[in-house]
């Protein structure tokens, strides 16, 4: 069976730079001296620590409890001692700290429990969701949204198609490619578990055509289940965007403000499928992941299987260190990744650690827009980036919103192609943040206004009540007086 594919609008072809890491197998990384495991590695509420400083923990032991409906628990990546529970640099450009559980490994790497295999297909979909939630699995493509919440959506809306995103359209990144090539059977098992968990009728594993070995391996492994189909999709950035992957595979566009589940779809990353396989079949929580350590500044770019919490410093060290000083150190791919502090740890959503040289970045001097229209051709959403940018420059945020600012997916295709080096997507991200800030300020002032009005109303009511009470008392007094007088008059009259 051949699936009909649909074209998406726009997109760009950045240089791939995948070769240095794609050709080598995944390697392990030595245990670092310290692991910094952040309690918040996901979208949603941070986990609550359940261990104490000085406590001995075993590999896979729960160290942070999920808080609230959208959250994920955190587990000890190896056995050792908790030395601190304190703020540490987070993998975020702000460099602001986040609370981390610091573990000093004892080198024994001893599991909390002996391995035990369960047949996932004997479990109910609900139990699968619970196991995924308990394993702390989050979307591993980078967004880090708790996976169990997505799987749980299937219990509310019927899901017919499970889409597995093996696009990996970001340059440099090859961690998903290597995972699919080396662990195809496990990935397919994870996909089948998710199919069972969502009760969807089919799974489409979409892989970009520039990964022929991954396609071949997964096709071979997928033979055991006719519901699972491997689809070869064009290599185009941003094909890995959820919206665009859905459009490519189904021809349908996600209406604004709707979730894929509203169309009966659910999208997960291949690495998430692998994590689900480990969690549900073997009861192993998410404590490690495959990270592409790449970029021109690295001496030995590789894919490494890394424990969550490993400092970037150690990771770079185990890849031979830097050949030259990097101009930028990123987490994620170069198109949407973020600059991170040197001492930040690897988290569940870290697909890559990329160290770029100055030549690789091509910083151009910003010039005037010559209206070449390349941004319009490149935008996968159908926006007019040049018009939006000129509005934002003039502080006309409403104008930018009219032009579709809120539909922008921040993929950066516009800024990538701009020959005038205008920071287009940077403008949009700034404006989005600014709009949120203004909205918050507005809400706050409205709340304050409401409170002031209520206070005024209360004061008035109190004054009125006081006056009324006084009037009532006066009337009572007068009535009593009158009654007295009348009584006196009656007395005198008799």
């Amino acid at each position: 069976m051949i699936l009909r594919l649909f074209r998406i609008r726009g997109g760009v072809h950045p240089p791939e730079h995948k070769h240095p890491t794609a050709s080598r197998p995944i390697e392990a990384c030595p245990l670092p001296a310290r692991l910094y495991v952040p309690l918040q590695q996901h979208i949603g509420a941070p986990a609550e620590p359940v261990v104490q400083v000085g406590e001995k923990v075993l590999k896979g032991q729960l160290i942070g409890h999920a808080q609230g409906p959208v959250s994920a628990p955190v587990h000890a990546p190896t056995s050792g001692t908790v030395t601190t529970i304190a703020p540490h640099a987070a993998p975020h450009p702000s460099g602001l700290p986040v609370v981390c559980v610091t573990i000093e490994p004892d080198g024994e790497d001893r599991w909390e429990s002996a391995p035990a295999e369960t047949d996932p297909f004997l479990l109910t979909p609900r139990e699968i969701g619970e196991r995924v939630a308990a394993a702390g699995i989050v979307g591993m493509g980078g967004a880090a949204f708790p996976s169990a919440v997505k799987l749980g959506a299937a219990t509310r809306t019927p899901i017919h198609t499970l889409i597995i995103n093996g696009g990996e359209c970001e340059p440099y990144l090859t961690c998903d490619d290597r995972l699919m090539r080396e662990r195809a059977v496990e990935v397919i098992d994870g996909v089948r578990i998710m199919l069972h968990g969502t009760q969807a009728t089919r799974a489409l594993i979409a892989i970009e055509e520039n990964k022929p070995s991954a396609i071949r391996e997964l096709k071979r492994a997928a033979r055991i289940d006719e519901r699972v189909m491997v689809v070869r999709i064009p290599a185009l950035y941003p094909m890995g965007s959820e919206k665009h992957m859905i459009q490519t595979l189904t021809g349908r566009e996600l209406p604004p403000g709707r979730l894929p589940a509203d169309l009966g779809l659910i999208v997960h990353n291949v690495a998430t499928a692998f994590a689900v396989h480990r969690a549900v079949r073997f009861g192993r929580p998410l404590i490690s992941r495959i990270v592409t350590v790449g970029g021109g500044a690295l001496r030995e770019p590789r894919n490494r299987e890394v424990l969550i919490g490993t400092p970037i410093e150690d990771l770079v060290e185990c890849c031979g260190g830097f050949a030259e000083e990097p101009a930028r150190l990123l987490m994620g791919g170069p198109m949407m990744g973020q600059v991170i502090p040197w001492n930040a740890p690897v988290v569940k959503g870290t697909s890559g650690v990329i160290a770029l040289t100055r030549e690789e970045i091509h910083i151009g001097e910003t010039r005037a827009c010559i209206r070449c229209g390349r941004c319009v051709s490149a935008c996968p959403v159908g926006l007019m980036p040049l018009e939006m940018a000129s509005r934002i420059r003039a502080d006309q945020f409403d104008g930018a919103v009219d032009h579709g600012l809120n539909d922008c997916i921040s993929c950066g295709s516009c800024a990538f192609v701009c020959p005038a080096s205008i920071p287009l997507v940077q403008f949009f991200n700034f404006a989005k943040g600014e709009l949120v800030a203004r909205k918050t300020a507005q809400d706050k002032s409205q709340v304050l206004k409401l409170m002031a009005e209520q206070r005024q109303a209360r004061l008035e009511r109190e004054a009125r009540e006081k006056a009324e009470a006084a009037a009532r008392k006066k009337a009572e007094r007068e009535a009593a007086k009158r009654a007295e007088q009348e009584a006196a008059a009656r007395e005198t009259g008799t």
């Binding site: 950045p14 450009p93 990329i354 996968p380 990538f416 920071p423």
Partner: protein, 343 residues
């Protein structure tokens, strides 16, 4: 002093094409056309091209000084305007008038709007339109190509002193193929038009050469190929319709395509990025409109040539076209309405 801020937010990769590179390549693509003009018309054409280009660059520099801006000379855009403007003028055009044209092109066509990126009209054509109105006699004096002494002596009109009337072009003058058709009913052969051995403005005579240079730009993605395609398509369709109705009176579409300034205008002027729409549908509408207007002005207007005004009209309609052809946003059912008012 401008503060230099290095952005450290994504995307961290950048396509290698830059504004200066695009513009430089347009200059490269124009050079063969200029060389051919010099070969055909001799030192006069060379003097004309150099004068106009210098005038444009000097004017750009002047306005940079006045507005305390830097570095816009290095983007080559003034050079392109100069070359293009020179190519649209008759080879024997008086040099002082040519310098005026160059000044007007940059001053009124570009600097007044705010410089590169803000001009509504193609600056070269603004300069051309100005001298068309100011010096109507001089701009219609065309010479034959390939005169024997062209590399040694100037066409007499070239060296006209400022503020004097040019001499008559006795012995040099020749009508353009468009003029021949319009005023005398004569048709020049398509072969001559294609290779360019005909009278005309300095750079508009060889359709073949212009097409080849345009192809280079389109292949290297320095030009939007859809615009010349739409202009030529629009002109061919309109001309074809007239020819179909009355083949005795109207020339063939081939003659219309390869004569006059249509090829130069379609390939190098209508495709000017700044003054053309950017929306996918808008590009086609804009090009077709220019092609249509060119033929209509040629057939029914007072002048024998219509490309210049057609493109200027097309430029004027650009914002409106762009507004009406906004792309559909992902997930939206309807095309945006009135979102694109260019300010």
């Amino acid at each position: 002093m401008a503060l230099k801020i290095e952005l450290k937010t994504s995307p961290h990769l950048k396509d290698t094409d830059g504004v200066a590179q695009i513009m430089r390549n347009v200059v490269w693509a124009l050079l063969p056309v200029c060389a051919f003009a010099v070969w055909q018309f001799g030192v006069s054409a060379l003097a004309l091209i150099v004068t106009v280009t210098l005038a444009c660059v000097a004017t750009e520099h002047l306005f940079n000084r006045l507005s305390h801006r830097h570095g816009t000379l290095s983007d080559w855009s003034a050079t392109i305007t100069g070359l293009l403007l020179a190519l649209t003028l008759p080879p024997g055009f008086p040099l002082w008038m040519a310098a005026v044209a160059g000044f007007v092109a940059i001053a009124l066509g570009k600097a007044m709007f705010g410089g590169l990126g803000f001009n509504v009209f193609n600056p070269a054509l603004v300069g051309r339109a100005f001298v068309q109105a100011a010096f109507p006699a001089a701009i219609s004096g065309y010479t034959q190509p390939g005169l024997p002494g062209r590399f040694l002596e100037f066409i007499p009109t070239t060296l006209t002193l400022p503020f004097t009337k040019p001499l008559a072009l006795d012995g040099f003058s020749s009508a353009t193929p468009m003029g021949e058709w319009k005023f005398n009913g004569m048709i020049t052969s398509a072969g001559d038009l294609f290779t360019g051995m005909v009278a005309g403005s300095a750079g508009e005579t060889s359709a073949l050469l212009i097409l080849a240079c345009g192809l280079y730009l389109a292949l290297r993605r320095f030009m939007d190929w859809r615009i010349p395609a739409a202009v030529l398509g629009g002109a061919a369709l309109t001309a074809g319709l007239f020819w179909f109705v009355d083949p005795g009176h109207y020339p063939t579409p081939m003659f219309v395509l390869f004569s006059g300034g249509l090829m130069l205008g379609a390939v190098f002027m209508a495709s000017d990025m700044v003054a053309s729409p950017v929306t996918p549908w808008g590009v086609w509408i804009y090009g077709l409109l220019i092609g249509f207007l060119t033929v209509v002005i040629r057939y029914f207007g007072g002048l024998s040539e219509g490309v210049m005004y057609a493109i200027l009209l097309g430029n004027a309609c650009g914002p409106l076209i762009e507004n009406l052809t906004q792309p559909r946003i992902y997930g939206a059912r309807k095309v945006r309405q009135n979102a694109g008012n260019r300010t």
